[in-house]
Symmetry: D2
Subunit: 398 residues, 4 copies
């Protein structure tokens, strides 16, 4: 048993941390105050720096321009990147692109890799993922109305999706659609690539989320597929494998998210400590001297540590035994870490007082936009049920 | 002992509830999606309707165009109005104007009443309140840098304030400024009226709060007073009474807020129930059938009821024995109800899933903007300390 | 609306409080350290004093030797008595006798009142109630195996019960038994009086509960009914009415319990404050100066107040509109107050440190024996479900 | 990085688990129902079996008859032993003896090792530890009244202690006493061995703790030292090192406790699952089908996992870098795991309903006796303050 950070990783993490501190955190106000037009060009410069540093796409194998690191390694990196709202994007490992890259890498045809994965990996294009439908509960992922019907060499897709994150400005989406309504529950749907310039596809709007329609990568579109026709070769993997691949996609995806959340927590705690020691309450007392503040710092620290070990163990387990072997751990971290995140952010805001609800720190952004962490990719309730049933199974059979 | 809603109030509450449901809730999307230019004119029409219905300014005595109801009566009304994000504004009992009206009514000179209270009560002008300073912890209300120095017949005011809610478009502010730095701790500051067209006053910006700079009444300004000169007759009450009047102002103010929060909770619970019974999870199961959802509905109901009785009792106590006698109760409701509010909203959002984080319901607005309820007018921690010290006092003396 | 304690009650409450402080609290160590042989005789003296003071059986009408007060009045008294572990017993309003008295008073025949209610009301005998069965989940009160079969003029009862509180030394039990297994769900069972000297009845043992088998009134027996024969005239109310009467019994019963719990909370908070001001942490600091301790005191105070208003309102509603009209409120207080109780006790123990887990204060007794408050008379989960379904009903029908 | 259980340990853990299941759990009713006279002799047989199996004293080096395993290894074992209330005692690694063995092994003189450690390690005698004083807050460990004054070749000890766990039947105690009141705060006290047959030592009583005075090893004595005279050679380590050694003792001690608590949690979860699948709610529904129960199982599983990784990491850190390097982690696990324990037990009891508060499972024992886990060896509040101050230190210095 060994709890040491892998030694090859230590210098990489230091370089990334330093890059985030010096290059990205200073840009956060542009993002937080919504000055996207000024922001996007500067971010392109930063992305070029990351490429030049050979830190680009840390989740990808080297053949696709990545670092060739393990999932466990990437988990550590995701934490460092998560400390800034800009980290993952600048390193080209932002959701939903990161999921699409992993999907295409694992299941894509050679042609798909050439046409979609390569430019995505290079950061030349962006993509999105169209799964959730406004009329259906996301907690039941096999329950959906979007269909892809074969017609000649094509699929003709009809459906209504929302939370197609980052659709604005994306080159293509991966849509989850029912290809065989008569198949068994988990074999009905497939995942199909739809370039966004395909006739019949349209963005209805960027959904206003927590007061904010967002922009580009940082937006969540509602989209329509109306007799949207793509070649059958655009299917990823085999027909009916949509649900299975979505599950597969979510395994590492939850590691990414969970470590990103822990990165957010670490930053929130840093901001908390810095504010607490600097904020004078009276001539001889600082906020950091208050026992309540100290309690919160200790509680956040403990919860963050607990969360980190759980996620690192899950990443290690996926690396060593595969995502299937780690499915209990993956469900566990999803709800556990998302709740730690919410509590840590809540405490951080309370310590900051009025400042905490302004956009002069990233806390308020995270507070409102990461509220969804307990909802997306399976709400807390869904994961708890999954976990409990797995735990109960041997007892029922006994 | 009698827990019945006062009978004279029942028909009034029904009329208000019906007005909110039919006239205001349909307008909420304009507010929630930020279409303020379309919104403000329609709201003026609604305000005219409220006046015509003689429901205007329910917190004010009839001589100022109000309803002449008691604080307890107004508490019930505030709950009904709180069910919509637009309720208090349309009835002219929105913060911070409502506080300024009460202040001027109680402590203002005849001239001040004529010049400031009357048009405010009539809804012809708006006002703001400038107390919090970015450089000082709001939890210590006697700790501030803004000064008002006598010069001839004037005060010359210098200082930097933020969270001057609704300054944009307001006619005047009431500023808290140190008039005698050598006085005892609680006698240093005074409250002074400053018309916003006074030279030396400027709005630095609307502070971005939870992703949103807001507009007009729904905004929080950062403001500067630079050699800002007003006649000494603009002082409200006597010199050095600023802190005492602020405390006095906060008594009923906390009733207003707390009942507004309970109104929010009631609406959140209504939305929750409606969504839960309508949301199908599978062919034969609805969200409302889930035990977890039922637990949350029950817990929210219980907490809302608990909160409501506490606030009604506090309002009744202020009516019957005065704000001073009720100070323990006032501190208690402030933190208790603000925390109930946060939990109820959090559960409501979780039940709504993805929809809950969009701006298609008011939940996301309240989730982000009422996070400050645990901070403004005294953070939880401040009120808990005040309450605990009062409870401990007889034991220390024993 | 009026939140004042009824004026006729004020002097009564003062007398009771003074009696509890001077006569009962000094006896608590005998109870807490298990010196029951010394305790029971002294308690009889105290009961005689209570009778002489005409405070006896405050829940009963005067014709049965009680005070003739309303349920709301009794709620206030129950709080005062709850401050001591001995209060309810000494005033003859202890569970389960109080429930049996109410049952017999409301539904008993004249003969039953003469034979069972009178000596019970006079405190000459004690009784118990046999409902819960070890093999069946208490959360489903219509699911049980005990039967009462007619044979000649008798019922022949067979069954196995536990948590027959206070059976040791009792004169009779009221047993819930199935009299018609073919009736509809809620009409199967009846309540039948069984004198404990009836052949076929036996106490298996006092169940060890939280480390303690208890003694006499303060014990929980496991009992067997084996061909236990009683005259059919021993049935209370009509056949099949067992469940309905149990529900009826529980309405006021929950007021009693909930106010008793609030009395416990008040005492726990008193002990907390007294310990905190007296406990020196260092030469110049006391426990009461710690912000964490102050937070807990404030949180407990707020929760106790919230709980008290809810229960008083429920009692008032039962008095004015009957138990059926108040059923939502009754379910709500059951789980809300039981959870407040657990949190308040937990904080009180933590403040007391090592002393808190000893039996030198009543806190440890309450901590372990009132853990069951979230279980008996319907677990939290049951009440939440009941409450949620009632709240959801109009939405489902809409 | 490697999260695998050390391979040499796997068969040992399996043997221990099997021994606990087959030999100890069946004996628990004797313990839980207080039948100590029957219990102690059987436990001696089990201890002999453990010795024969060469699993005895797993925390000790082989030269003292132990297994020679690392602290990390012992952590895993402590979890397995913690699943039964009898585990640690039967393996001779029960508190407080385990701490005294570690203390004597690390700091004892050769003579002390021969005379006290050897028989302790062999399980021939028991011991206790006398630190806490009823008159002083345990949260301030340098604040005490017990003194040891040199007189000739002896120390003359006077003082009053309680929570001298397991004093009844012990051969000696280690007492913490002030040897130099004028020394700096942390150098005042020393640890001195006092055989319990020393004149002037007496057990005042076994303190009643949570309704229970206990017996032998399972008791907590209040003791007096009245002119109690022991040779100066009975001091452990050097004079004034008492506090430092206590800190040293607590490092591994917290690993032992924390892993024991996790063992308790695992057992509580096993009992929960078994009860939930076996408990029928109606003809076609079991407790395990309830979503609330499933939520609790999932939440407990997640919290237990989180706790386990934190403790294993802390043990590993002590093994690899020493207790001083791990002091932040040691403070963190103390309060984090103790709180997980309390929540897991609380949920387990709630699932068990009435059965949960009886002594027919070990849950009620743990619920009441492990409430102290948040108090002994530093209350939550103390550890949070320690942790927060260490976290804040670099920020204050920046």
């Amino acid at each position: 048993m060994d709890f040491r950070t892998p030694s090859h990783l230590v210098p990489i993490l230091e370089r990334i941390r330093s890059f985030v501190d010096s290059e990205l955190i200073p840009l956060e106000p542009l993002f937080l105050l919504g000055d996207f037009d000024a922001l996007w060009p500067v971010l392109e410069e930063k992305r070029a720096m990351v490429k030049a540093e050979r830190l680009w796409a840390p989740q990808l194998p080297t053949e696709f321009g990545g670092t060739g690191l393990s999932l466990l390694d990437f988990a550590f990196i995701s934490l460092e990147l998560g400390r800034s709202v800009l980290g993952h994007y600048v390193f080209n490992c932002q959701a939903p692109d990161v999921g699409n890259m992993e999907l295409l890498h694992q299941f894509g045809s050679d042609e798909q890799k050439e046409r979609y994965l390569k430019p995505l990996a290079a950061g030349e294009i962006r993509s999105c993922f169209s799964m959730t439908e406004p009329e259906f509960a996301g907690s039941n992922p096999v329950y959906m109305a979007t269909t892809a019907v074969k017609d000649g060499d094509d699929y003709v897709i009809n459906g209504h999706k929302w939370f197609s994150t980052a659709a604005e400005g994306a080159a293509f989406t991966v849509v989850m659609a029912v290809t065989d309504p008569d198949a068994s529950r988990y074999r009905r749907a497939s995942q199909i690539i739809v370039p966004l310039d395909t006739p019949g596809f349209r963005i209805v709007c960027n959904t206003p989320v927590m007061g904010d329609r967002g922009s580009g990568w940082a937006s969540h579109a509602e989209v329509m597929f109306e007799d949207c026709r793509v070649p059958q070769s655009n299917i990823i993997g085999e027909e009916g494998a949509g649900f299975a691949m979505a599950q597969e996609r979510l395994g590492p995806g939850r590691i990414h998210h969970a470590m990103r959340w822990i990165g957010i927590c670490e930053r929130a705690l840093e901001l908390t400590c810095r504010h607490a020691v600097g904020r004078r309450l009276s001539s001889n007392q600082f906020l950091a001297d208050q026992q309540t503040i100290q309690n919160w710092i200790a509680e956040s620290r403990a919860e963050i540590d607990a969360a980190r070990w759980m996620v690192l163990n899950a990443a290690w387990l996926i690396d060593t035994e595969g995502a299937y072997a780690a499915r209990v751990e993956i469900s566990t971290i999803k709800f556990f870490v998302a709740n730690v995140l919410q509590r840590v952010l809540d405490r951080a805001i309370q310590v900051h007082g009025g400042l905490g609800v302004t956009d002069y720190t990233p806390l308020a952004f995270w507070f409102r936009h990461e509220r969804a962490a307990r909802i997306y990719d399976g709400a807390d309730e869904v994961h708890k049920r999954v976990l409990a049933r797995r735990i109960l199974k041997p007892y029922r059979e006994a």
